[in-house]
Symmetry: C2
Subunit: 189 residues, 2 copies
Amino acid sequence: MPKEDYVPTLFSLFRQYGYDGTTLSKISAATGLGKASLYHHFPGGKEDMVASVLDHSDCWLQANVLHLLAGEGSPQARLQKMCEHIHELYAGGTQPCLTAILAMGTGRDLFHDKVKGLLESWIGAIANVLVESGFDKDLAIKRGQDALISIQGALIVAQNLDNASLFQRTIQQLPQVLLHPEEGSEHKQ
Amino acid sequence: MPKEDYVPTLFSLFRQYGYDGTTLSKISAATGLGKASLYHHFPGGKEDMVASVLDHSDCWLQANVLHLLAGEGSPQARLQKMCEHIHELYAGGTQPCLTAILAMGTGRDLFHDKVKGLLESWIGAIANVLVESGFDKDLAIKRGQDALISIQGALIVAQNLDNASLFQRTIQQLPQVLLHPEEGSEHKQ
DNA sequence: GACATTGTACCAAACGATCGGTTTGCTGCG
DNA sequence: CGCAGCAAACCGATCGTTTGGTACAATGTC
């Protein structure tokens, strides 16, 4: 079996238990492979496995967000499509975010740069759509950041409250929140 | 030295390294206490230490949010004061959230109920202020949830991007976002 | 076709290190 | 003395990792 076949299993393990919490015993049990076999596919050990998972996530982002947002259709339609993919990725808010969980504990030092890159390209892609829709560039970036704040925050709160609908509500209204016209001077006080 | 004196150190350890990542060796080094001394103060071991930290956080929430929001002053002023305390708690967005980090890995199973309770009372307190300001109760609760989504999300994104000002911006505009009048039917599509 | 060679996938067993947790024995002080 | 408080050694378990090997299909050589 090629190693790619194990990446989805690794993905769900790491995003559930985190870097420190995902032990090789758990991985061995979940994949059905002995520890030595795991080192055959991933010579770099646990760190190598997470790197593979992150590459896999990179591809996912490329296909389901970056390429999509830069493609055809109205901005509204593109953003909505993105939200559908997000909804699927996080299983409707019941599954944690890999990048968020890797930003904590031991994983933080190891994968910070990679995670940062993923996040930045995501924000940039959203901002590009908004610029294309006529928004000022600075405002577009700000709203791109706000989009990821909402996504990440909704995931955390939804899971801590056992309330997935809270996440779904947030995602569903994301496109119109992003595209709503600037009012006054953005609530200047 | 009474055990309370070590709780702040434990707090910063656990919110930095998470439950799995915070080893007794790290705790011993950070507190300057031997393991035996740690078990003298916290007979229940690591789990006992986290419980103490969570109690400490409970008191913090009680004093700096619940009591404050139920107190005197205009809703706007109370919410602003709360945001100042939040800003201080998270060191301007440079420090992670304890409850978020405890919701992952092994800690999730152990402390989920406690964390959920903390979050719920926080949301409830914000909602009460909004109801008092004349908002519909359902909308008030929704905005209370959104407030915590923004806080948690901003923390995650700010740290992954090494951009604390992103957090500060989010917190600073939180009061007026919470209090802004309902427009149309909340962006009905 | 027969046979050695190579490469891939896999694993049991064990490594040293460190884990969370416990016990021992000594110290300083009222 | 009595006892609270703690450093240090120790416990079994588990950590991530490594060694040494088996089974088997593909390839090359005669």
